[in-house]
Symmetry: D2
Subunit: 134 residues, 4 copies
């Protein structure tokens, strides 16, 4: 089982599993995932719910931090800010690319760009993860 | 059918319905809702996923804006920022209370405090909604 | 010399001193300050520069954390988010009231409401401070 | 007089002038500036005050929006979020590079990376500007 598959098994029974998040790449400085914009992930107007976009990104930043943690350490999101820029229509697939601004001993800072299937920027999510020593 | 019930019917097939969000009160300056912390809303460690907390709050701010919209107008979240403060354990119920900082013609600003069943503050979500004229 | 006066001496040669920030009250859960909207704190249009509003609030949250620190510990802001709501005209005085959402061992979360002389809400600044053990 | 010089004259009597902000490049998708970390821009510990970093960046995002405005329109910051990552020592010079995520008719979204003289990332500021038609 690859690294990505084992992370998937971990996420499957959790909120990312409920939303159908699919990890595509998990590197030390970059995490990529996709998510199908199902009807039950939408808000009024048949577009991706802003909350689903934030939850999608939050997972990527947490996974990115997780794979960088020193042995025994845990992480929690302390802050997340999102700018919403464009809509993602129901039935399409969004892609999130999350990269590290900072991977320190106490905090890590990640930013996720969520793009529509057409490649248009939908949202920018920047989050700070606390590293909690084991 | 009351106001709250009709809003519930609107949300049921959408992301708030998937998460099990329950509207409790919908006033012009205040929206209250609850959500059961089901296993599939959690992250590792059997606590509410930060993304689910953000999506829960985002819905309250959008509902608050919606009931204040001039006729024909629509709204979209332009920005949301969250401070995570405490965990909400699986099986418990969180409550979100969303109040207005600003209800203007162009933007509205709402803040949601999410509290655990024990009354402990879990997260503070502050969001700006754009009012799009009809 | 009172507590507030000694903090003022500390701030005088620093950025808060340059801006003319005046501490009014410093309690463990609440810090209040005022600032005259001088011309050189403004942006175009003779209104308080958004950056000056953020710097004003950032100082209050840092002071609030400082007075709560365990002996030998230091603090740094890890994140700050601001919603701008209304303008403060040149020549008037703004008041900032900063209160604690959370005062923990690892992080503290503070929120500052900045109001115009007329009592209108100008900005809401929410910030997370890291507590760095001595 | 070049474009950059005329913007400088505009900013000189305002808050950016007080702080000593120097515009270096002003393009439609990118604004670059520098600022000397004077003692009166610092916080305790002889490092750049977080508020000065936020005010520096806020100016870049506003300038970036300004040069993209349709004739007669104005702009105001509606939201700004900052992640603080590293310190900039007194006496050094920081550089801010601000680029556009979105330049729309209603809103623009800009992100500024502030780097120390040594090239280390100090802060990431992401802001939303409202475009107010003339």
């Amino acid at each position: 089982m690859t690294h990505v598959e084992s992370l998937h098994q971990l996420l499957a029974p959790l909120f990312p599993g409920l939303m159908g998040l699919q990890l595509v790449e998990v590197e030390l400085e970059r995490v990529v995932a996709t998510m199908k914009v199902r009807g039950d992930l939408c808000t009024a107007g048949e577009i991706l719910h802003g909350g689903a976009a934030m939850a999608f990104a939050d997972t990527l930043g947490a996974v990115g931090t997780f794979v960088n943690l020193p042995q025994g350490a845990r992480t929690t999101t302390v802050e997340s800010s999102t700018k919403f820029i464009g809509a993602a229509p129901m039935g399409s697939t969004v892609t999130g690319e999350c990269t590290a601004f900072h991977r320190g001993r106490t905090t890590m800072v990640w930013q996720t760009l969520i793009r529509s299937e057409a490649g248009k920027l939908c949202a920018v999510v920047t989050q700070t993860q606390l590293v909690i020593p084991g």
